[in-house]
Structure formats: structure tokens, C-alpha cells
């Protein structure tokens, strides 16, 4: 088990495995997302209360979930890199940030548009929206801190501390609708037991969730490959790689 993890931590190995996996992840994600989009837009029945407006769910919920998931991956990788000093882990953390920004922005924008229709307002300073906005600022702060340091090692380690400090925000975002009387509705899918959403509406949502997740994997692996190349200066395996291409 440890040799497997060590293999992953070795940059040339990681690079090779990532290069192999990326196209698979990419195509599977494309298929899942395309299917989910079509199903959600065309075939899913209109909602009883919101009509066709509810279809925003199919982009809003996966984006919001991924914004949290990305941060958790980032914090986890940062922590592993900090504690065990594994360069690939730091590369993963660095790669997560821009991806997180995209998902968070998408969640906020789609949420605001949907909110304008549902609640009559683009924005409310309720706990979930506010903490999601804080998440966006955390991603920006992480990237700003990284770029402030010239020494890549110190940039890695300082930003790792920041990522870990900010992770308290994630459970706040997730449980804000439970702990407070929030404008935002309570989770209807992740409830253990019977989800309170019709199956014809649920399937495209599940497709989108998985599609976004696998897309995250593909994009992450691509970025990490780039980060690993930048960190490894001119190791032998890079020379071989360059010679080949």
C-alpha cells in the first residue's frame, strides 16, 4: 500500500499515469455531461411549482458541490504536502485553486440568477450565500499568497497553511442551511433514505454530478502535469520526455 502511494508521489510515475488517465476521464466526463444536459433540458418533466425554471438545478447543484469538493481536495493535498513534504501533493493543491474558482463562480452566478426568479433578489447575505462567497475569496487569497512568494517551496508551504485554515468554511457552507434559518433550501438529494425528488428529475442530476466530478479529475490531472514539470527543474525523466516530444 505504501509503495503504491510512494509511486504516486514520484513525479515521473505520476506524470505517466496522469497522461494515461486524462483522455479517459475527459471523454467519460464529456459523455456524462452531454447526456445530463440533454436529459435535464429536454426530457426531464417540468417542476410543479417552478415550471422549466427549476432546470437551473442541473448546473447549479453540481457546481456548488464541486466548489466544496475542490477545496477539500486542495486542503487535503496541501496538508499531505506539508506534513510529508511530497512535491506532487503541493502540485495538486496548486492546481485545484483555479478549478475551484470556476466552480464557485458558476455556483454563485447560477444561484443568483435562480434566486432572482425564486426569491425576487439576486443576493441575500444569508449564511450559505455569504460563506460560499467567502469560499471564492479564500481561493483568490490562496492564489495571491502563492504568487507573492518567489521561492516555490515557501509558496507551497505558506499556501498550504492557508488552505488548512480555510477548511473550516466548508462544513459551515454545507451545514448552514441546517444550522440557520436560511433562504436557501435544505438538501433534498443527499438525505439518507428516500430523496425527495422524482426519479425522472433525479437521473440527469446524478449524471451531471458524476460528469462534473470526472471532469474535475481530467482538468486536475492536466494541471498537475504542468505543475510537476515546473517543479522538477531538469530531472532526467524530463529530459527524456522532452527528447521524445
Amino acid at each position: 500500500m505504501w509503495t503504491w502511494i510512494h509511486k504516486f508521489g514520484s513525479p515521473p510515475h505520476f506524470y505517466r499515469i496522469a497522461a494515461l488517465l486524462t483522455p479517459w476521464f475527459g471523454w467519460i466526463a464529456a459523455i456524462l455531461i452531454a447526456t445530463g444536459l440533454v436529459w435535464g433540458l429536454v426530457f426531464a418533466p417540468a417542476d410543479y411549482q417552478q415550471g422549466d425554471g427549476f432546470r437551473i438545478l442541473y448546473v447549479h447543484a453540481p457546481s456548488a458541490w464541486m466548489s466544496l469538493f475542490t477545496y477539500v481536495v486542495m486542503a487535503l493535498a496541501a496538508g499531505i504536502g506539508l506534513v510529508w513534504r511530497i512535491k506532487v501533493a503541493h502540485a495538486v493543491a496548486a492546481s485545484c485553486a483555479p478549478i475551484g474558482v470556476a466552480f464557485t463562480a458558476s455556483a454563485l452566478v447560477t444561484g443568483a440568477v435562480w434566486g432572482q426568479k425564486m426569491w425576487g433578489t439576486w443576493w441575500e447575505w444569508d449564511p450559505r450565500l455569504t460563506s460560499e462567497l467567502i469560499l471564492l475569496f479564500l481561493y483568490f487569497g490562496y492564489m495571491a499568497l502563492r504568487s507573492a512568494y518567489d521561492d516555490p517551496q515557501r509558496a507551497d508551504r505558506a499556501s498550504a497553511v492557508l488552505a488548512l485554515v480555510g477548511v473550516v468554511n466548508v462544513p459551515i457552507i454545507h451545514y448552514s442551511v441546517v444550522w440557520w434559518n436560511s433562504l436557501h433550501q435544505v438538501a433534498s438529494v443527499a438525505k439518507i433514505g428516500r430523496p425527495s425528488i422524482a426519479p425522472e428529475m433525479l437521473v440527469p442530476l446524478i449524471l451531471m454530478f458524476f460528469g462534473f466530478n470526472i471532469l474535475f479529475g481530467a482538468v486536475l490531472l492536466t494541471r498537475v502535469r504542468g505543475e510537476v514539470l515546473l517543479r522538477e527543474r531538469s530531472a532526467d525523466w524530463i529530459r527524456a520526455l522532452v527528447a521524445k516530444s
Partner: protein, 56 residues
């Protein structure tokens, strides 16, 4: 259901389409930026190797 009905989204077109377009744009940016970053890193690595090989 005609194409016009589909685009109309039961009256919610102004909300549904911008949301979808934004998300698709965000995903598109994600993918393109990642590939560009990788390509740039590859270029830098290549330049480094070349610089090391040259005797100057």
C-alpha cells in the same frame, strides 16, 4: 415540443439560458486554461533542457 417552445423554457428563458451558458463557459475556460498551462510548462521544460545542453 417545438424548438421555439424549447428555447422559451416555459417563460424562464432569461434565467435558464444565462445560467447554462455561464456554467458551460466556466467549464470551457477550465479545460482550455488547464491545457494551456500544461503546454506552457512543457515549453519551459523544453527550453531548460536546451539551455543546459548548449555549452554557452
Amino acid at each position: 415540443m417545438s424548438l421555439r417552445d424549447f428555447l422559451h423554457m416555459g417563460g424562464y428563458a432569461a434565467y435558464v439560458w444565462p445560467s447554462y451558458l455561464f456554467t458551460i463557459a466556466a467549464i470551457g475556460w477550465m479545460v482550455i486554461a488547464a491545457r494551456r498551462a500544461h503546454r506552457r510548462a512543457l515549453e519551459i521544460a523544453r527550453k531548460r533542457v536546451v539551455m543546459e545542453k548548449s555549452p554557452s
